[in-house]
C-alpha cells in the first residue's frame, strides 16, 4: 500500500473492521466480497471437494509418515464427529464438517504476521503472499480453525514424480519449503473472472465463477458468490438465514439454520454453515 493511498483513504483504513457498509455497492469501497454458505444437512462427507482442491491448487501428496506427523496439506478437510451422548451405537449417524479457511474479516492470523505476508484483499479474502512469508508460523498458531498448512518439506522435489507434474495447474504456484499456505477460495479462478468481467465493463455474474470444491460437490451443498451483490444466491441465503456478516452474535429465529463457527471469538468468518438436521422421531 502506498503512503498516498493510505493518506487519501485515511478514514477507510482507520476504521475497525468489519464496519457496516464496508462491502456495499453504493459506497464503492469494494465491488466484491466473496462468501460461502454450506449446508451441513446435505453434505454427505464424500470428500469430492477435498480431492478437487488437490487437483486445482497443486496440493502435494505428503505420504503416510508425514501425514502421521500432521503435515497433510489439505486446504479443505472433512472433520467427522460422533455425538457426545451416544449410546452403544451412533444411532443418529455422524456429523461431517467440511473445514477450510473461513476468510475471516477480522482474521486472527493477519495481525500476528511479522512481515505482513498474510493480509486482507479488497474483495474480502485472507491472502497469503508466499514470496513475503518467512515461515514464522505465528498465523497458524493463531488460527482458531487450524486451516493453515506449512511446507515443512521441499514438496516440489518429491510430491510429483514425473510425469505427475504435467497435471499441475499453471494458474498458480507450487509452494516450496518454508512457506505457509491455505485455502484461497480459488483466487486464480476469481481473478480470471474479475479480469474477464472488467474487460467487458461489467461485474462478475452470480454463478460465473466458483471454487473447485463448490464445482465438484455432488449434492450442491456449498453455495459461493459475491455477497455485495444483494441479488446473488449467497447474499440471499445469508439474509434468509438471518446471519449478518458484521455481527459477532446473531439474533435469529431458532428455526433458521445459519451460523458461523466459533463466531464468539470474533473473527467474523465469511463462511456461513447451515445446521445439520435430524429427524428425532426416526
Amino acid at each position: 500500500m502506498s503512503i498516498t493511498n493510505l493518506l487519501n483513504n485515511w478514514s477507510f483504513y482507520r476504521q475497525k473492521r468489519p464496519f457496516r457498509g464496508q462491502y456495499d455497492l453504493n459506497k464503492q469501497y469494494s465491488e466484491y466480497k466473496w462468501a460461502m454458505a454450506l449446508d451441513l444437512d446435505i453434505c454427505t462427507g464424500c470428500n469430492a471437494c477435498t480431492t478437487a482442491c488437490y487437483a486445482e491448487n497443486n496440493l502435494p501428496v505428503v505420504g503416510k509418515e508425514r501425514y502421521q506427523h500432521g503435515y497433510a496439506m489439505h486446504w479443505i478437510r472433512i472433520e467427522r464427529y460422533w455425538d457426545e451422548n451416544m449410546g452403544e451405537f451412533p444411532e443418529s449417524g455422524t456429523s461431517f464438517l467440511p473445514m477450510m479457511c473461513q476468510q475471516c474479516e477480522e482474521a486472527p492470523c493477519e495481525t500476528v504476521c511479522p512481515v505482513g505476508a498474510t493480509n486482507h484483499t479488497n474483495d474480502g479474502l485472507n491472502s497469503q503472499n508466499y514470496h513475503r512469508c518467512i515461515g514464522s508460523r505465528y498465523c497458524s498458531v493463531n488460527c482458531p480453525y487450524k486451516v493453515r498448512y506449512f511446507n515443512f518439506w521441499n514438496y516440489p522435489s518429491t510430491a510429483w514424480p514425473s510425469p505427475l507434474q504435467d497435471q499441475l495447474n499453471p494458474d498458480l504456484t507450487v509452494r516450496t519449503k518454508g512457506v505457509m499456505e491455505k485455502c484461497t477460495f480459488c483466487v486464480q479462478r476469481l481473478n480470471e473472472a474479475k479480469s474477464r468481467a472488467r474487460t467487458e465493463y461489467r461485474l462478475v455474474k452470480d454463478g460465473e465463477v466458483v471454487p473447485a470444491c463448490v464445482q465438484a460437490c455432488p449434492t450442491n451443498a456449498i453455495t459461493f458468490g459475491n455477497i455485495v451483490d444483494p441479488k446473488s444466491k449467497v447474499a440471499k441465503m445469508w439474509k434468509n438465514q438471518q446471519v449478518d456478516l458484521y455481527k459477532d452474535e446473531q439474533e435469529k429465529d431458532s428455526s433458521m439454520r445459519g451460523y458461523r463457527i466459533l463466531e464468539d471469538l470474533r473473527p467474523f468468518p465469511s463462511v456461513m454453515y447451515m445446521e445439520r438436521v435430524r429427524d428425532m422421531e426416526a
Binding site: 454427505t44 464424500c46 480431492t51 443418529s92 461431517f96 455432488p218 441465503m237 422421531e281
Partner: protein, 738 residues
C-alpha cells in the same frame, strides 16, 4: 509467415506431419544450457490451442461403471482437471473424487509405457511389431486356435468397445467372454429380475418421504453415486425426507442417516419380514400380498426378529410405524444384504416392503428401454470368473486375454486363480500399469488411458431416458508406445473379418460412423458432420425410450430365509464385513496419491487398511486403537491394525477392500492388506455369486501396536463446541429457506 506465403504449420501438414508434430526438432531453437533443441509451442500453437487459455472438452469418466459425463480442462495440450459435464443427466455437472483422480491415472509415474514379454520369469520390453507378431502367431487366424481354447476376461463394459469385443468372440466362434467384476451387482440384478422382471428399476429418491436402506451405500458406492447424491440432496430439501439405514457396519450413507440401526450380517431379510409382519396387521395393507406370504411373515414377531437380528425388539415396530406414517417411501437393499448364501432371498424380503406399502409405481418404476440393446452394458459377475477358473484349471485354454480386471488381486485365495492362470500357455493383459494379473502374463500390452481414448458408454443405471456418453481424448497419447484398445480390438476383428470392417482404418472412424448412425433416432436434422461435432462437444446423446413396465410379484418360496443365519461359530465367532471404500472400490485405482491421501469418511484413516471393531468388543478383548490383530478365516489370515469404531455391530469386524497390492505401483504396493484373499467359498445359492459377506473370522491380539494414521484428532466429539450444530427436523423450517 515466410516470404513464400507458407507458414510452418501448413508446411508440416503438407508433409502429413500435422497434429502432434510439434515434437519435430531441427528448427534451430536450441537450449542455451544443454544445447538440446527445444520446442516452442507458444510461437506456433496447435489448432484449438490458445496459449494460456483453458479449453473444456466433454468426455466420459471411466473410473467406475456409472459413466458420468465429464469435462476435461485442457491447456497447452495437457489435461489438467476433470469436472462434471452439466449436459449429462447422470453427473449433472458434478464429479466425485474418484473421477477427479482420472488425471492421476493418466500421469501416473508407474504407467506401463511399452509392451512387455515374459522371458524366463521376468517381463522384458519388446517392440509393438514383435508383440503383435507374437499375438498373431498365438491367436491369429493362422494359429489354428479354436473358439473353446480361447478365453477373454474383461471388466464390465458397454458401448462400441463391447460391440467389437462381442464381434471378435463371434469371429473366433468362442463363447468364452467372461465379464467379471469383483464387486458386481449380479445378486441385486437377480433379485430385481425375480421381483420386478427387470434388471434394474428406476428409483425416485426425490419423491420419497422416507427411505429405508438396508445396507445400500448409495451415496458412496453402488450404481451411480454422483447421480444418487444429487437425488439425495433433493430428498433432503423441504419437505425433508427421513433416512433410516440398517446395516452391520456404518457406511457413508449410514453416517448421514436420521436413524442408524446395527444388525447382524445376513439377518436383514428377517428384519424386513418382521417389519412386514407389523405392517400387515394394519387393515389398509391387507390384500397387498398373497395369503401364503402373510402366513409366512406372521412367524416373524418382534421378539423372534430381535433374537435373530440382534436389533432391539421395539425398533421393528418403530421402523414399521415410520413406514406407515410417511408415504410414499422407498425401501432399498445393498451389498451387505446381498452378499450371503441367501442373498437373493434377503433382497427379495426387503423388496416385499415396497409391495406392501404400494411404492411400486410411485417411487419405483421402470427405466427406459434402450433402442440400442447392443450398446447396453454387460454387467460383471463372479460366476464368470469361476467358470473361467475351472476351465483354466482343466487346461482347456491355449490363450486368454485379460482387460479391465485384476483377478489375481481380487480372486479369493481358495480359488487358486494365480496357479490356474499359470497353466494357460499364452496369457495377454491389456493394461495401463503392471498389476498383479499383468505380472503373471506372457504378453503385456500398454493401452491408452480413458482420457486418451475414444469410446462410447452406456451406464446400467439410467436416470432418465437412455444416455449414451461419448468419450473423446482429452489429450494426445502421453507415450508413443501405447495404443488404443479400440484400435487393437478393431485390428483383431479385421484379422478375421476383413471384409466387414475394411471401411474403417481405425476405431475412431468406426465409432464416428456408428455414432452418426444414431442421428435419425434422436431426430437431428443437420448434416452428419454437424451431428458428430455436436455430439462430441455435448459429450452425451439422449435417447428417449419407452419406460419398461414394472410390477412386482412375490413367491413365498423366495422368502424362506434360513433359520441359521446367525448361528454361533466357536472357532470363528466374528462376521467379516469386507467394506467397499468409495474411492477404492475393488482396488484398481489404489495407485493414486490423491485417493490414498483422501481420508476414509467414517474413520478418517489414510494410506492403510484397518479392522473396525466395536468399543464393547474391543474392551472385552482388551483391544485398543492401533493394536496389531490377526484376523483369520478358514482360508487365510491378515495382520491388520485395530480401529475402535462405534458404527459396527459388536459381532462384526470390518476391513476395507482395495488395499494390499503386491504390485501396481509405488503408491499402492505394500500398503495395507487384501481381505479378498481370506474370503471363504460361500456362494449365493441361486446365482452362484461369491457371498462377499459370508465369511466368519477369529480375532487375536498380537501384543504389538502402532499408531493409526488418520485425520481425526485425539478427541472424536465436539466437546460441547458449536462446530456441527444439529437442529431437530420438526423445528427446522426448510420450506422458508432459499
Amino acid at each position: 509467415m515466410s516470404e513464400s506465403g507458407i507458414n510452418r504449420r501448413d508446411f508440416l501438414k503438407v508433409l502429413g506431419l500435422g497434429g502432434s508434430s510439434l515434437a519435430l526438432t531441427g528448427c534451430g531453437n536450441t537450449d542455451i544450457r544443454s544445447g538440446d533443441e527445444v520446442i516452442m509451442p507458444n510461437v506456433q500453437p496447435e489448432d484449438f490451442v490458445v496459449p494460456g487459455l483453458s479449453v473444456y472438452y466433454a468426455s466420459t469418466c471411466r473410473q467406475c461403471g456409472s459413466a458420468c459425463g465429464v469435462m476435461g480442462r485442457v491447456r497447452e495440450g495437457r489435461v489438467l482437471k476433470m469436472e462434471g459435464n452439466p449436459a449429462s443427466r447422470i453427473s449433472g455437472g458434478k464429479i466425485c473424487g474418484l473421477g477427479q483422480a482420472a488425471v492421476q491415472v493418466q500421469y501416473n509415474p508407474d504407467r506401463l509405457t511399452q509392451p512387455m514379454m515374459k522371458v524366463g520369469s521376468s517381463l522384458q520390453p519388446i517392440s509393438w511389431d514383435k508383440a503383435m507378431a507374437l499375438l498373431d502367431e498365438k491367436t491369429g487366424p493362422k494359429s489354428g486356435i479354436k473358439g473353446e481354447e480361447f478365453g477373454f476376461l474383461t471388466g464390465a463394459m458397454s458401448g462400441h468397445l463391447n460391440v467389437l469385443t462381442q464381434n471378435y468372440m463371434e469371429s473366433l466362434d468362442s463363447r468364452n467372454h467372461y465379464v467379471y467384476e469383483a464387486l458386481s451387482p449380479a445378486i441385486s440384478l437377480a433379485a430385481n429380475r425375480r421381483v420386478y422382471g427387470v434388471d434394474q428399476p428406476r428409483l425416485h429418491f426425490d419423491k420419497a418421504k422416507l427411505i429405508v436402506s438396508f445396507g445400500a451405500d448409495f451415496l458412496g458406492t453402488g450404481a451411480s453415486p454422483v447421480h444418487f447424491a444429487a437425488e439425495y440432496a433433493k430428498f433432503r430439501k423441504a419437505p425433508r425426507g427421513t433416512l433410516v439405514q440398517i446395516e452391520p457396519k456404518m457406511t457413508m450413507t449410514g453416517g448421514n442417516a436420521d436413524r442408524w440401526i446395527a444388525i447382524i450380517p445376513g439377518t436383514e431379510g428377517v428384519f424386513a419380514l418382521g417389519i412386514a409382519n407389523q405392517l400387515l396387521k394394519h387393515s389398509e395393507f391387507t390384500g397387498t400380498v398373497p395369503a401364503d406370504i402373510v402366513d409366512l411373515v406372521s412367524k416373524y414377531d418382534a421378539d423372534t426378529v430381535s433374537r435373530i437380528t440382534g436389533v432391539r425388539s421395539e425398533l421393528v415396530g418403530h421402523v414399521a410405524s415410520l413406514l406407515w406414517e410417511k408415504t410414499p417411501s422407498l425401501v432399498i437393499s445393498g451389498a451387505s444384504v446381498e452378499g450371503h448364501a441367501h442373498g437373493v432371498q434377503n433382497a427379495v424380503a426387503v423388496q416385499l416392503l415396497n409391495q406392501i406399502l404400494g411404492n411400486v409405481g410411485k417411487t419405483i418404476d421402470g427405466q427406459a428401454q434402450s433402442p440400442f440393446p447392443q450398446l447396453s452394458p454387460a454387467a460383471g459377475s463372479f460366476s464368470a470368473l469361476k467358470a473361467m477358473n475351472e476351465k483354466m484349471g482343466a487346461d482347456e485354454f491355449k490363450a486368454v486375454f485379460i482387460h479391465g480386471a485384476n483377478p489375481v488381486f481380487t480372486a479369493p485365495s481358495f480359488m487358486g486363480f494365480r496357479d490356474n492362470l499359470r497353466k494357460v500357455p499364452f496369457k495377454v493383459a491389456f493394461v495401463n500399469a503392471l498389476d498383479e494379473t499383468a505380472e503373471e502374463c506372457d504378453l503385456v500390452l500398454p493401452i491408452f488411458t480413458a482420457v486418451e481414448e475414444f469410446g462410447s458408454n452406456v451406464a446400467w443405471y439410467q436416470p432418465e431416458g437412455v444416455e449414451i456418453t461419448i468419450q473423446q481424448p482429452l489429450m494426445n497419447q502421453l507415450y508413443p508406445d501405447t495404443r488404443s484398445m479400440g484400435d487393437i480390438m478393431l485390428n483383431l476383428v479385421k484379422a478375421r473379418k476383413a471384409d466387414e470392417y475394411k471401411a474403417w482404418p481405425d476405431f475412431f472412424s468406426y465409432l464416428k460412423t456408428a455414432i452418426i448412425n444414431i442421428k435419425p433416432v434422436v431426430k437431428y436434422t443437420d448434416t452428419d458432420e454437424h451431428f458428430w461435432y455436436d455430439t462430441l462437444s455435448n459429450g452425451v446423446i439422449h435417447v428417449d425410450g419407452a419406460p419398461q413396465q414394472v410390477s412386482a410379484k412375490f413367491a413365498a418360496t423366495d422368502l424362506r430365509l434360513p433359520a441359521s443365519a446367525n448361528a454361533q461359530d466357536p472357532v470363528y465367532p466374528f462376521y467379516l464385513v469386507p467394506s467397499e471404500r468409495h474411492y477404492f472400490r475393488d482396488g484398481r485405482h489404489a495407485n493414486c496419491g490423491w485417493l490414498q491421501e483422501s481420508p476414509d469418511p467414517m474413520t478418517t484413516i489414510v494410506w492403510d487398511s484397518w479392522a473396525e471393531i466395536h468399543p464393547k468388543t474391543a474392551a472385552s478383548m482388551g483391544i485398543k486403537e492401533g493394536d496389531w490383530l490377526e484376523i483369520a478365516s478358514q482360508n487365510g489370515m491378515l495382520k491388520v491394525k485395530a480401529y475402535v469404531f462405534p458404527g459396527i455391530h459388536p459381532d462384526a469386524i470390518s476391513i476395507p477392500l482395495g488395499q494390499g497390492h503386491e504390485s501396481l505401483g509405488r503408491y499402492a504396493k505394500g500398503v495395507g492388506v487384501n481381505p479378498f484373499r481370506i474370503l471363504n467359498p460361500v456362494f449365493e445359492k441361486d446365482t452362484g455369486e461369491l457371498a462377499l459377506y459370508g465369511t466368519r473370522v477369529s480375532v487375536r491380539k498380537t501384543g504389538n501396536s502402532e499408531i493409526v494414521v488418520k485425520d481425526e484428532g485425539p478427541v472424536n466429539t465436539q466437546m460441547g463446541r458449536k462446530l456441527v450444530v444439529t437442529l431437530p427436523a420438526d423445528v427446522a423450517q426448510l420450506s422458508k429457506e432459499i
